[in-house]
Symmetry: C2
Subunit: 468 residues, 2 copies
């Protein structure tokens, strides 16, 4: 077991030794260090998840993570390392219990409140469960089918390599509670937006429209959602065989959620730079987020992203001073509304950026690259695509979308590159207690770093005719 | 989704129809029914885990399961269906929380109390963690290394097909708390006796010797144990570099466990029979256990076993009356001390039994058969081995051990057969919240039923010269 703080310091020394005695391009430096087992990205992830662990936005744990981050980034030799704080509304989890209480023997369910859920009050609430096969089915339902009941949204998410199911299935979480509240539901529980079969619910933020009174909202783990569906199906089948009336035995749930809104609290970004040799050249911005959901230790979401972008920047730094400044953004408060990304845009959005890139989709390998660069950068895109092809990365046909924390920059016209990671098992872990270090495959994490380092070295020396 | 209560009733009708129009040996009946999708074992498991769910020994849930069991067994056409109650000391879980509180940022750990754990009191306790790489290391330690501290036992269990690691690794749970208590520890937490990497701790019973004052005892999930080990390693590395003294920064834990002893409560066995045609022939006893740990719904442990033995007995019943009576025992209170098995032995141990068999190792396929039969049964063992070879079952060389609930019978000389199930993933789920229906592979469950039905049909018509 390696000791990370010490390891990073040793690493800084040995890296300096390499640079002082040889002249290496960035890519071979990364390859050489990886071969030596000096996995800076792994060290960062292990260090952050071990010493700080969960670090929910605008809590004391996220503040501890920023202090840790500033210290470590300085130790690694980055320049202009700073915290940039901001205020934001803050919601924290309380007790959470759910049970199916009839018509069968009472059973506990594994539940996690969604971010911005209302509390049930300390005594909890009870109600009849009304089943919807999907978010669309809930939207189509008349208010009378929902009023006074506890809504359940089913609709199991299937894994995809590009994570494209998140948009479709995620609506149950993103806006399901808002729709249920508007129709008069007393609470909502959803099948987790996740692809695993463990009793670990997937949390995540939900939002209520202005003027809509929030209701208690939680996610059941997939096995618990399965159990609810089986009981609901049996309860439906117990309706009178005579066919008179429409009075099935009701499936009833008891729910206790005691989250609290703490009002405006302090979060912040951590920013660090590798200063470029040409002060007139616009910087490259690399982003990840430092905050995590509270249930796990935020290893894949998003300590891994911070490890990847930081290792790439460090390796390029070690290869010699780049022409462009490389700026890394460890954003605060991404999970609960991209507050850090917005704060960065408010502070720096009017400055020119050469290109923006973000790593926030786990630690599995990069399998595709997508570009959204000016026409002038055709040769650049070809050079990058060719250089990373040997790592198994294919060139995609879609325009790069950027990522949450650089979303405002990209919307404002900053060029972007996406290094798309394999998301097949990402939603097994996303926002669950199971997002822990043991889920990271060091070999795939290293491939990410190789890809990023290779591309970053090329981008950092790109000309002003290629990029803004 | 099938409605089980109704399905079993339909099943009873259609099975009668099959028997009345054809003359089938038991094995083809099972094959035919399985082909028709009439998976009685699956139905039993789904029904029990859905309508009752967790059913800890001597609780109201286990009583509800007995009521359910008696009704279902009668519906299936078994005879002499009865509850046989007994009293037993009963321990139930309370709140459970654990945190690492220093020298790093405080972090919560996923913990489950072990059965018979002492409570910490409502305010919890704090203490320094003392690390042991294994149960053997704890045993070898001097009292002064342990006194006043919270013991942690590491020693990660590796999966094996035959489950043979349970004995070795399980000692940390079975007797680790007793050893730690005798050495003066204030509490003990162990790495879960489990082979998965999810944040679901593995509970299970522990026992303290008479005269030893119980201490709080819990199991951490494997990822949480990993985290503790990482923090402990870092804390050790923080000892003064001067080498003066032996004063590492202490890794400290806070622990809150509030289990209760409820004194003598009521548990019970459920027994049912397929009466044989020869009243003088000794019966065959098939066992499983009805109780489960409280964290999951007891699908693999041991609803599956009850499904397997009951389906086999039912299919043999459908093929025509057997010569020997088949008695099935759904034992109560196995998990917490085999109280049901002992109660059965006290009631019936003096009667002659032809052979005893138990299914209590999940729902994955039978891969080996072991016998402990009299020499007179050589032809019988050959016939059984040959008949089940086509299901992929090899003949083992070890004598059959029986199982927990038939352990006393086998120790008293009753012949036994073990249908050894594939345990490779059994300890991923064993005694965790994750022991739920979705973990059962219906194809492998069906193979179990085929093997048991085939063997049982042969055994049920065996002669008095072959078996006692």
């Amino acid at each position: 077991m390696k000791i990370i703080g010490r390891a990073i310091r040793l690493f800084a020394l040995s890296a300096a030794a390499i640079v002082s005695t040889t002249t290496l391009a960035a890519e071979p430096v990364a390859a050489e260090l990886a071969q030596q087992g000096q996995d800076l990205a792994w060290w960062i992830v292990e260090d952050l998840t071990t010493e700080i662990g969960p670090r929910q936005a605008a809590t004391e744990a996220e503040a501890a993570a920023r202090t840790w981050a500033v210290q470590r980034l300085r130790e690694m030799g980055f320049q202009n390392v700073r915290e940039e704080k901001f205020k934001m509304p803050t919601w924290v989890r309380g007790e959470e219990q759910a049970s199916l209480i009839g018509p069968f023997h009472p059973q506990k369910l594994a539940i996690a409140a969604l971010g911005n859920s209302a509390p049930t009050g300390p005594k909890g609430i009870e109600g009849e469960v009304v089943y919807f096969a999907s978010f669309d089915a809930l939207q189509a339902a008349p208010d009378r089918a929902v009023k006074g009941k506890i809504v359940f949204i089913d609709h199991k998410m299937a894994p995809t390599q590009d994570g494209s199911g998140y948009g479709t299935y995620g609506r149950g979480r993103f806006t399901g509670p808002n729709v249920a509240a508007k129709k008069g539901a007393i609470a909502i529980v959803i099948r987790s937006i996740g692809t695993d079969s463990h009793r670990n619910p997937h949390t995540g933020v939900t939002n209520f429209d202005t003027g809509v009174k929030p209701i208690p909202a939680g996610a059941l783990s997939n096995p618990d959602a399965d159990q609810l569906v089986r009981q609901w199906t049996r309860a439906q089948a117990m309706r009178p065989a005579s066919g008179h009336g429409d009075t099935p035995e009701a499936l009833r749930m008891k729910l206790l959620l005691t989250p609290r809104n703490l009002g405006q609290q302090t979060s912040g970004n951590v920013i660090a730079e590798v200063p470029g040799s040409d002060p007139a050249a616009s910087p490259i911005i690399l982003a990840c987020h430092l905050d995590s959901w509270d249930l796990g230790t935020g290893a894949i979401d998003d300590a891994a992203g911070c490890g990847i972008i930081t290792a790439a920047a460090k390796y390029v730094m070690m290869a010699g001073q780049p022409r462009r400044t490389i700026r890394i953004l460890w954003a605060g408060a991404e999970e609960v509304g991209v507050f850090g990304g917005k704060a960065y845009f408010n502070a720096y959005g009017k400055e020119k950026h050469a290109v923006a890139m973000e790593s926030d989709f786990g630690a599995d390998r990069v399998w595709r690259v997508d570009f959204k660069l000016p026409d002038s950068a055709k040769s650049l895109t070809d050079r990058i695509s060719a250089a990373i092809a040997s790592y198994g990365v294919v060139r995609g046909k879609d325009p790069a979308g950027g990522g949450a924390d650089i979303g405002a920059l990209v919307a404002a016209g900053v060029p972007a590159i996406d290094f798309a990671q394999d998301g097949t098992r990402y939603f097994d872990l996303h926002h669950t207690p199971d997002d822990t270090l043991d889920k990271i495959d060091p070999v795939q994490l290293r491939q990410n770093v190789m890809v990023w380092t290779t591309a970053l070295a090329i981008l950092a020396d790109s000309s002003d005719t290629e990029l803004p």
